[in-house]
């Protein structure tokens, strides 16, 4: 066959939306699990004793929310790194011409 073989379809251009979802959704699930475990053992009202300057006006309900957001941010960072590593690896392999990803 003289014509070039049919190329595998290019992964379509996609916006940031999908990556944002890939980062935020699993980290949301992880943050739920982490909050459940952490706050079962730790009373957020006690955080006041841990860092008086940081948590001076912290009541319990605020502690739950802050804790949850903290866990979400941390897991989102891990998710984002994973996504970033996967994306950049594909790019490297494609440009090296070693076939489809």
């Amino acid at each position: 066959m003289s014509a070039s073989p049919p190329k595998p379809p290019e992964p379509e251009r996609r916006g940031w939306g999908v990556d944002v979802g890939l980062v935020l959704w699993p980290s949301f699930l992880a943050a739920c699990a982490a909050s459940l475990l952490f706050f079962a053992a730790v009373d957020p009202a006690l955080l006041k004793d841990a860092g008086p300057r940081l948590f001076a006006d912290l009541d319990r309900e605020a502690g739950y929310v802050l804790g949850f957001i903290f866990f979400w941010v941390i897991s989102a960072v891990a998710s984002a790194l994973s996504v970033y590593l996967v994306r950049t690896e594909r790019g490297r392999r494609r440009s090296a011409g070693s076939g489809p990803p």
């Binding site: 996609r14 053992a41 319990r60 739950y64 929310v65």
Partner: protein, 466 residues
Amino acid sequence: MTRPPHLKLVPTPEPAPFYAAAEKIYPREISGRFTRLRNLAVVVLLGLFYGVAWLDWDGHQALLFDLPARKFHIFSLTLWPQDFLYLTLLLIIAALSLFFFTALAGRLWCGYACPQTVWTELFVWIEQWTEGKRSRRMKLDRGPWTAEKVLRKTAKQILWVALAAWTGFTFVGYFTPIRSLGSGIAGLSLGPWSTFWIFLYGLATYGNAGFLREQVCKYMCPYARFQSAMFDRDTLIISYDEARGEPRGPRRRGTAARAAGLGDCIDCTLCVQVCPTGIDIRHGLQYDCIACGACIDACDDVMDKMGSPRGLIRYTTERALHAGVTQVVRPRMLVYAALLALVSGALVYALFTRTPLILDVIRDRNALYREVHGERIENAYSLKVINLDDKPHTYRLAVSGLPGLELTAPAEPIAVPSGSVSNIPARLEAPATAAGGVHRIVLTLTAVDAPRIAVEEKTRFIGPSS
């Protein structure tokens, strides 16, 4: 010996569906056995969700995971953070049940009980009520923005938002007392955090049930991905009987299908139109299938009209489909059932033998020991007594482990109100002749009115080194 072939999942026959902009699915309205069953599940489950929050029991909310107070009320049982074990066991039981029922009957959870399915169903009902049936909805969406379209869409949105807000409110009402939450809203004095959670959950309901729908099952649900690990050839699935249906094709009513070289499938595509995830069950088992049974109802209806037997699409197993006999009892089922029985038994045992009393003993940090009256050695402790019972108790403290060891304080029995913590200083004395070195001793705390409620706590008694 060769292993039996694994259950074959066919890829969803859409071009690269993972990142393609999802096409809106207009599930067609349907009636039939499985639809009635799902409607029943929707009414019962949502009825429980919206209703139980308002139920009272012994002067408190019957089911309340009171996070602000860090106490869980489950009818007459009150659990504390110290009772985390029970919650863990409960979660393990939930996971094992999911495994067990998945292996037995496939995606029962997805089709009938998952909140995503249940709330989507409710939102679709509202949509059908305000915008009409499938064909009308499609026409409405394609058409220009007429006054009628604006009216219908606005009505739908108002109902959706109201339902989502009520759902968020009810959800938060399981974590903070719902009546005070309600009066907080009525008096516009709701705390910022409760407001935050109500909005978050309301928004999640609105987005998931109103817009994302089947995409949650297809792209976001981890269970949908790993459930095939629990499937085998004897798991109940929804399947199209290819041998009976093919070759498919339209025909006049009353045509002898076999004589015309046709199978039983008339290719009416109703099974595709009713599918909430928009798949064609005739392509085979796909992981997008949430096993809701809508296609069975649709096909049975058509078969009735055509005068053919029902069940061209039916609940069956891979083995039965290939002329085998389904094995309900098989090693996988026995293992799941045994684990389930074991953990459930552990939970029941732990609950029945639970002592609603906790004693923490901390040695005085300031001094190892003190000499009193010349010939006696005293050690000081601070006790933390937590009464987990739902009534007040008076407790008597006893000591053992060293000859001549005596309790000098507290002199009185310790009274602790229900659900409270008391911090009590305690002092023990022993004769100097016996007290040299380090001794392991045991403190025993017993409820005066209920000797069954008793705990032991080990600690140390320290005297001068000899």
